[in-house]
């Protein structure tokens, strides 16, 4: 029942599946911005990455910017607020809020204690926090910058890894370019200076990397591939592409061939032999579902190969087919990440066969198609 054997020769012409070499590679940047098309599991991936980082001994902060409390819910903690909270050993959470950032900023730099009250009265806050996403984004990115710049007494960074559940791909570039936009508008003063420093952090691949999450479906893959490009155009490195909710092969090619050639009476007799009462429509249904499954795997492979054309390392997260994301689910995903980057760990799914299946397909299929 095994898929392609692990010693299958590397295929020519398609390159190799780019992978991370250890945790230091995956968590090489201080800030990981996790993005992807809506609905691809961006938040779940951010949470799983954060767990994997914390499990590897890094002091890790997970940052929520959209105020939906989905991360805190996934970790089964009370909603996070503007102050970092350690909710698991080595793992902190924070929910950024543009309004709080404004207050903090003005208090910090101008010692203005009454600003909050003033701004609420003048409805300036509406402008800053809702009507002008450029400013809103700058405040959020600026807060990430402030956190990244923090140091412990011994000079090490306060957080080894900062994982941001960032806006979706469609909005990520404007989000990250907000400091640039502001330097265009504001020619002098502290805001301009700080914007330039924030830009410096974003453009340095040792400090900031994007992680693009996708499903192996057409639109999300297209958006992920384009996302890598537009982030690169904006000067932002992509550290990993995560193929999420990848269906694990349950019926291999040879078995699928046997299923397709079934004779219904034989199958009904075989099932009866183990006490299962099947009828002819059941047999057709089994054949249909196996065919659907094989088609789905084929489509996954096709789309995985589109992702694998570049040099960006790829992580695969299996479809665990769970209902709600909970901590045990996240732990399985985190362990799966750890295994893929070559870290020691007894738990987690070994997705090696899945990865090989994605990239290479069944030897059986290959022979049938007569493709290399």
């Amino acid at each position: 029942m095994a898929t392609a054997s692990s010693d299958a020769p590397p295929r020519t012409g398609r390159g190799t599946w780019p992978v991370h070499d250890g945790h230091d590679d995956l968590f090489g940047a201080n800030v990981l911005l996790v993005t992807g098309k809506g609905g691809v599991g961006k938040t779940t991936t951010a949470a799983a990455l954060a767990l994997a980082a914390a499990d590897s001994g890094r002091d890790t902060l997970v940052v929520e910017v959209e105020g939906r409390h989905t991360l805190s819910r996934a970790f089964a903690t009370p909603p996070w607020d503007y102050h970092e909270r350690e909710f698991r050993p080595g793992l902190w959470g924070v929910a950024l809020d543009p309004a709080e950032s404004v207050y903090e900023y003005l208090e910090l730099f101008y010692g203005l204690k009454r600003v909050q009250w003033m701004m609420e009265r003048s409805s300036a806050l509406d402008f800053v926090t809702t009507a002008a996403p450029g400013l809103r984004d700058l405040l959020l990115v600026g807060k990430v910058y402030e956190i990244e710049a923090r140091r412990r007494d011994d000079g090490r960074r306060r957080f080894d890894t900062i994982i941001v559940d960032a806006p979706p791909t469609g909005r990520i570039v404007p989000f990250l370019q907000s400091p640039t936009a502001v330097t265009e508008i504001v020619r002098v003063g502290p805001i301009r200076r700080q914007s330039a420093q924030i830009r410096e952090m974003l453009l340095d691949p040792r400090r900031t990397c994007a992680v693009l999450v996708t499903l192996l479906e057409e639109m999300p893959v297209t958006e992920a591939v384009e996302g890598v490009g537009s982030l690169a155009d904006a000067g932002i490195a992509t550290g990993a592409i995560v193929a999420n909710q990848v269906v694990l092969p349950a019926v291999d090619g040879p078995d699928a061939g046997l299923v397709a050639a079934w004779s219904a009476p034989d199958v009904i007799a075989a099932a009866a032999g183990v006490g299962l009462d099947l009828d002819a429509p059941d047999v057709s249904m089994l054949q249909r579902q196996v065919a659907d499954h094989r088609r789905h795997l084929a489509r996954q492979r096709h789309l995985a190969n589109r992702l694998a054309t570049g040099s960006t390392p790829i992580l695969v997260l299996p479809d665990l087919a769970t209902d709600a994301v909970d901590v045990p689910t996240l732990q399985v995903l985190a362990d799966t990440i750890a295994r893929q980057v070559g870290a020691e760990g007894p738990r987690g799914r070994d997705v090696g066969p899945l990865v090989r299946d994605l990239l290479e397909g069944d030897p059986e299929d290959r022979d049938d198609r007569g493709r290399p």
Binding site: V115, A181, V186, L276
Partner: protein, 414 residues
């Protein structure tokens, strides 16, 4: 053709009689595909339909003949009794169009476009896209060229934003802050500032210190340029709302069977009711195939018993049974989640669309989904003979870029 337990009815009435259908729901649930499928179904049933899409998948866009940016309705080459046109809203330039259309003079429009604040904020000013979708709907409806207009809604953070957007944009543009910012530049009477109070002047001082007065002047310019346009925005937003409240304007709420999109669907259903808007029905996409009535546990037990069988045929059966048990467990849970999310809501129609229809690349695929939505084709697992051709032929298993994943062609209508 027995509908699955929780599904009931079809959207055929809406497709046959509505004049406006708005698809809405969380991002990534298949809204655009559903909108296109509804338009195509209407055309196949003899109506003349227009689909206004936003950001369709490349293959879907090609299927609709929208490879090039089609800011005006284009005929779609369909073999149908009626007619189908499609267009795509270009979200990049919507604000520019808005300015062009409503600025008092061309000079005023130029002044707005040249403003540095405008250049930075225009593409992201919240509510703009939603407002433009609504304004376009208004304009095209006025033309009277179509029996039915299907509108896809932008992928907003929350489906609810869509209803609030026109209001939010207009209230922002005419808001207090705006008048406040314009005040110093206009050097109008001090009475107003006094009325706003201490907070206002203090804010201006702080803002000036932080950003430099130059920026404030830009902001003031920006809003002054809009002066006189607010009334037009407001009037049209109000008209669109009247249009949407008519009984022939109906909403189709789209979801996928995970708790978050289902939660969003429920909120939207509630919101429609509060607003006096009409719900045609809820569409749940990408449901797993329930397979059969067999208890998954019985399937797993049989699979386990066969898994060690020396006969390869039997091991293949074991693998197939385990697969179906898994799928059917998911399918049952999904249907339970759908039921739980919509509990105690009056849902006139609930249509379930199978997992296989998840990705659509051509008009046949769209027609298949349209057939599901109008009740012409049974859902997978309803006992309909799907895919009479080549179930399980591994040679076909790799045609990933062929549209071989929707064999449930519509039956019963041409």
């Amino acid at each position: 053709m027995t509908p699955a337990s929780s599904a009931h009815g079809s959207l055929s009435d809406a497709v046959d009689t509505a004049t406006i259908l708005v698809t809405t729901g969380a991002g990534g649930v298949g809204k655009t595909t559903t909108a296109a499928a509804l338009g195509l179904a209407a055309a196949r049933r003899g109506r003349s339909a227009l689909v206004i899409t936003i950001d369709p998948a490349r293959r879907l866009a090609q299927a609709l003949g929208l490879d090039d940016l089609a800011a005006e309705p284009q005929p779609v080459d369909v073999d149908a009794a009626g007619r189908l046109d499609a267009m795509m809203l270009d979200m990049e330039s919507t604000f520019d169009q808005l300015i062009e259309r409503h600025a008092a003079t061309p000079a005023r429009a130029d002044a707005i476009r040249a403003n540095r604040i405008y250049r930075t904020l225009s593409s992201t000013l919240s509510g703009t896209q939603e407002y433009m979708a609504m304004e376009k709907l208004h304009e095209l409806h006025d033309r009277g060229d179509w029996d039915l207009i299907v509108v896809d809604t932008p992928p907003t953070r929350s489906a609810l934003d869509f209803l609030d957007a026109p209001q939010r944009m207009t209230s922002f543009l005419e808001g207090r802050l705006l008048r406040l910012l314009m005040q110093p530049a206009l050097s109008a009477g001090r009475g107003y500032l006094r009325a706003v109070g201490f907070g206002a002047t203090a804010f201006m001082k702080v803002a000036g210190r932080v950003t430099g007065m130059e920026v404030l002047d830009d902001i003031a310019d920006f809003f002054r340029a809009f002066d006189g346009m607010y009334d037009g925005f407001k009037a049209r937003a109000a008209e669109v709302l009247v249009l949407l409240r008519r009984p022939t304007s109906q909403f189709v709420v789209v979801a996928s069977p995970q708790p978050p999109p289902l939660r969003e669907a429920r909120f939207f259903v509630d919101r429609l009711e509060q607003e006096g808007l009409h719900l045609a029905g809820v569409v749940v996409n990408r449901l797993h195939d329930p397979g059969s009535g067999h208890d998954p546990a019985a399937l797993v037990a049989a699979a386990d018993a066969l898994a060690t069988d020396p006969e390869p045929e039997h091991r293949a059966l074991a693998a197939a049974l385990a697969l179906v048990a898994h799928q059917s467990t998911i399918a049952r849970r999904e249907r339970r989640d759908v039921g739980a999310a919509l509990i105690n809501r009056r849902i006139p129609v609930l249509v379930e669309v199978g997992h296989r229809a998840g990705e659509v690349h051509d008009l046949d695929g769209l027609a298949a989904i349209g057939g599901r939505l109008t009740g012409e084709v049974a859902a997978p697992g309803d006992g309909a003979p799907i895919d009479p051709g080549d179930p399980g032929d591994p040679r076909h298993a790799d045609d990933a870029d062929q549209s071989d994943d929707h064999h449930d062609q519509p039956r019963g209508r041409p």
